[in-house]
Amino acid sequence: MTRQDTTDHGRNAVEVRGLVKHFGDTRAVDGIDLDVREGTVMGVLGPNGAGKTTLVRILSTLLRPDAGTATVAGYDVVRQPRQLRRTIGLTGQYASVDEKLSGWENLYMIGRLLDLPRPAARKRADDMLERFSLTDAAKKPVMKYSGGMRRRLDLAASMIGNPRVLFLDEPTTGLDPRTRNEVWTEIKHIVADGNTVLLTTQYMEEAEQLAGELVVFDQGKVIAEGRVAELKARVGGRTLEIRPADRGEVHRVVGALAQAGLDGTAGATADEKRGVVAVPIISDEQLTAVVGLLAERGIALTDLSTHLPSLDEVFLAITGQKATHLAGENETEEVAA
């Protein structure tokens, strides 16, 4: 196991051993081991159908595993579901709030279901709406909320009971970039308060923004795990895309980079079709050096851009092949929207 590092002094908030769940012939979760230390954020990265949601549903007692064990806050998901439910918060892929009720009514109801006395439930609903910047929309039915507002309300609802472990199942899937940032900000606040979070996502960028450690799922199996920084190094982190003014010069650019022997530039590849050269970025110094080199050689450029690896590229880097279920992604996303 790669994760037994020296800083490990906290208890595990989530412990999963040999977990299996199949639906008919499909093994949605196929022998997963996973530890989430208290007060940390674990990201679970994978395409649709990789088993992320199934894992979250098992950990939140919505599904029974077929084999293996899992505990949350020390409670077994099968034998102690009632105790376990007192310790968790769940924000699903589909907004888990009542659409017909207003934001305030939703939060008040959840407070009451968590045994808060009426005045405390009222206050908590007010406080949470304010904390998640929803006070103005408090009385509006959730049906009229925007996608980002819904997710924020969903987060607020999950935080009402101050859960020891928070499960976030694809909290920003289907959101536009601006709204995504909005939700990330709220999640970062939650994380800063020292909560334990297990987050599933399809976006490397999201994992990088929010999680400290990461496991990568494919077809119900863990195919990679480690600190986000380590994995980033493995998958190449950011990529620099260079677009020469003359498409024909892509090979000249690659040649120049190879010749100069700069760090990491050996991995540079030319894409003739798009007329770009992709260079894995290892450090900021390297970035500067590459730009400097190109200027020195007098190569005219029309575009320079950096981007994070897509899930596709992560999978390519880790497994050497395309993610298995990526093809069906769009259909499922539409349902979620």
Partner: protein
């Protein structure tokens, strides 16, 4: 990230309900939900359903319109013809015969809607939240049942109001009427559980609707709800005699009109209601638990 770095105890976590929910050290946490908590949970969920109605008043249309339309339809379209036949002479006599039976019909029709309701509810994320919270899973269903009984009572009030306007005459038997209403809602509540089982079993709301209609039609018309069973052929009469709807209708009729037997149909109604609930409620709750 910068705004909340002052202390791990943010203002939000200051009065942490988590503290109350964590058992004291050394005490075995069985995770049991006490009766008082359970009632509070049911109350909060009933409130949820009531608020849904408040935000979406159209969902009460069936409850308000069905009794009016059916009463007018049966009294004025069929009443004269049927009343002239075997039900005692005229339209007014038929109105008296019909209204207690219609109460039973309201119980059936309104409880039927719970099947589609719960089936649709299940498609929504909010059910996942309820099911992952420390509440008894049965409380979601019990709350639904309470709300349906409330809707049933509204329908019966509308029905009786229309009934009195078109000539229902109970000759001052108010206590009998209340007893009839009570029995009808008791029976209606037991039907709610049956339709919950249907709603939780079928995959789609349309299928629920279809099955519910199949159950409802023979029960409703193969009974003494609309006409006395005297003219029916023997095989059909054998069915209507055991049909619980016949007992419910006859019980209310006896209590409200002072005609016919009272004790036997009242007893049968109670037996059916308790029996149906005892069998179907645990099935519904078990299915709800298992449903993913």
């Amino acid at each position: 990230m910068s705004t909340t770095t002052e202390s791990p105890e943010s203002p939000v976590s200051a009065e942490s309900p988590a503290k109350d929910r964590t058992p004291p050290e050394g005490v075995a946490d069985e995770g049991r939900i006490g009766l008082r908590n359970n009632l509070r949970h049911i109350g909060a969920l009933v409130r949820r359903n009531a608020l849904q109605i408040k935000h979406d008043p159209e969902s009460m249309m069936d409850v308000l319109m069905m009794p009016i339309i059916f009463t007018l339809l049966f009294v004025y379209v069929f009443g004269g013809a049927i009343g002239g036949g075997g039900a005692g002479g005229d339209r007014d006599a038929y109105t008296n015969y019909l209204l207690p039976g219609m109460m039973a019909m309201m119980g059936l029709n309104i409880s039927m809607a719970v099947g589609t309701g719960i089936n649709e509810d299940f498609r929504k994320g909010v059910m996942d939240r309820f099911r992952s919270m420390p509440i008894a899973r049965s409380s979601v269903l019990v709350a639904k049942c309470v709300v349906e009984v409330g809707r049933m009572l509204v329908a019966i009030v509308v029905l009786l109001t229309v009934g009195f306007m078109v000539g229902l005459d109970i000759d001052g038997r108010w206590a009998g009427m209340l007893a009839g209403v009570g029995l009808t809602t008791l029976f209606g509540a037991s039907l709610v559980w049956i339709f919950m089982v249907v709603g939780l079993t079928m995959r789609t709301a349309q299928a629920v609707q279809g099955i519910s209609m199949l159950v409802m039609m023979p029960l409703q018309f193969g009974s003494s709800v609309f006409v006395p069973t005297g003219t029916m052929p023997g095989w059909l009469k054998a069915f209507t005699d055991v049909n619980p709807l016949t007992h419910v209708a006859d019980a209310s009729r006896g209590l409200m009109l002072g005609e016919g037997a009272v004790a036997a149909p009242v007893l049968w109604t109670v037996v059916w209601s308790v029996g149906l609930t005892a069998v179907t409620a645990p099935i519904a709750i078990a299915q709800f638990r298992r449903k993913t």
